[in-house]
Symmetry: C2
Subunit: 142 residues, 2 copies
Amino acid sequence: MRTSDVMSEIIPKNIISEALSLIKFNSDGLVPAIAQQHDTGENLMLAWMNKESVAETLTSGQVCYWSRSRGKLWRKGETSGQIQKLTELRIDCDGDTILLLVDQEGVACHTGRKNCFFTAVRSDGLKSIGDVLVNPDTLYPK
Amino acid sequence: MRTSDVMSEIIPKNIISEALSLIKFNSDGLVPAIAQQHDTGENLMLAWMNKESVAETLTSGQVCYWSRSRGKLWRKGETSGQIQKLTELRIDCDGDTILLLVDQEGVACHTGRKNCFFTAVRSDGLKSIGDVLVNPDTLYPK
């Protein structure tokens, strides 16, 4: 894991093109992307990226997904302020999954929890194991 | 993160049914599953699961995926011996991603590397950052 706080250097355009050519986007033009807190290893969330969002993320150093429900670029934190600064983008052996090492501002989950994986399947039932750290109403004011 | 080595207790059938009803499988009947080493936090791989593979994983305590390329259940390690013992299965807030905390025997990647995310996009190019720990030929004898 890299321990620097944020991506320290700009990724040149030709390197971004090389990365994009390695990624196998699915028939919808999307690839799943795991966001992992760079220093603690906590898995925060999984979302989807298209070519444009990968290029923007590598250019800006701030994570941008593709929102399947809204059908548009999703600059994580643009409403809630809970942005993800990119530490490093990695591609898996088959080119069909992206791993984003990030520095999460505040909480990743829209429920106000640090991460989205808070439902644990245990022998005595499904358990909610994540504390709500931020009131979701303050994240998304009406 | 749980620090026990393996899932310590059997998950009863009614809890498995409850978990399955919470998971939103896509139009192909699949959901992405992240495998993370339970004690170090290292992300090992992402693969896909269908209902049957989720149920088998929770019943056996050993991870079983759905192989999209082979179109059949993929009991991880059945050929290579590199099995994944389940520590805990978690479901995300939207029910459309699974996080598997596992204890990986040997290496997760078919290239002989511990994890599949070994291509890092850096300012000076795409860098292979994962050491090959096992000769792939010994994993998959011809």
